[in-house]
Amino acid sequence: MRSHRSGRPLVPAYLSTSGVARPSRNSLERLSVLTSTAGPVFGDLPAAQHALLQSLEGGSLTVVEAAALLRLPVSAVRVLAAALIDQGLVTARPPVPPAAQPDHDLLKRVADGLRALKL
């Protein structure tokens, strides 16, 4: 269904995180929203962290979108994002505000939104 047209990524995923396999925090979901704080960067960021930070210039991305964009596994982006959060360069918020867990109103909004998509 899909080819690997441009071949394997130049940098393998395990090197993108400098060998770190686990994120420094466990709260990042696939749909956690990453936003750059546009704070000052002190010193040189590792290239992959820099690439992630750059992808957030001008707008927010979910973890999974950043992974697709950077062509890294979600697990690697979790590590990179956690490192950037630790440095105060990125904030993350959960996909759904905790107060609005899947309830009737949310489901209604989804159903109405879907109906509106029909041609």
């Binding site: 080819s3 929203v33 210039e57 996909p95 899947p102 159903a111 509106a116 998509l117 041609l119």
Partner: protein
Amino acid sequence: MASAPSSSEPAPAESRVADPGVRAGELHLPAAARELVKIVVVGPFGVGKTTLIDSVSEIRPLHTEEHLTQASTTVDDLDGVRDKKTTTVAIDFGRITLGGETVLYLFGTPGQERFRALWADIAYGALGALVLVDSRRLDASFDVLGLVEESGLTYAVAVNTFPDSHHYPEEQLRESLDLAPDTPLVECDARDRNSSVDALLALVEHLIDLNARAVAGEVRS
């Protein structure tokens, strides 16, 4: 919604999958996006998950390459899937902005037993699952249904119709798949946007029903 795909002649999947040159600017979330919800589209290889996601998504389906453990490296069963030459563990996903604040993500996920760990990660927090079934290979869906049921996720079943699909009576399908009487079972053409939306709606309306019933139950007791 100007670029709705035509229902009869879908572009070849190859050209619709996001190319690696996709830019961040095309993907940034709408500033108003407040609640991001997901539905898992699950089914065996070649059943049409990406096709369905593509037919409703506002972005070209993207994918992430997922790492699997060794147990998953066995050869996939491609019986009856003539046009599918390769299998990968890429997870496709699409996105639909529903009104101002709500964004719906669709994750295409293989549901075989060996994807258990990956499945748990992807299904975490999902509203529910749309199980896509190929009536020519019903047995390929047994594993999938088992995994979905075990996860406790609410699901609806959509039979993706292929040109050479048999048409089975609903009763027979329900019996073969061992579905509960209230589990929605719909036919769908994954290439067709309206048909795919209807299948998703069958799931969401089922969720609303269950939710209302749960609330009524709480009130009574």
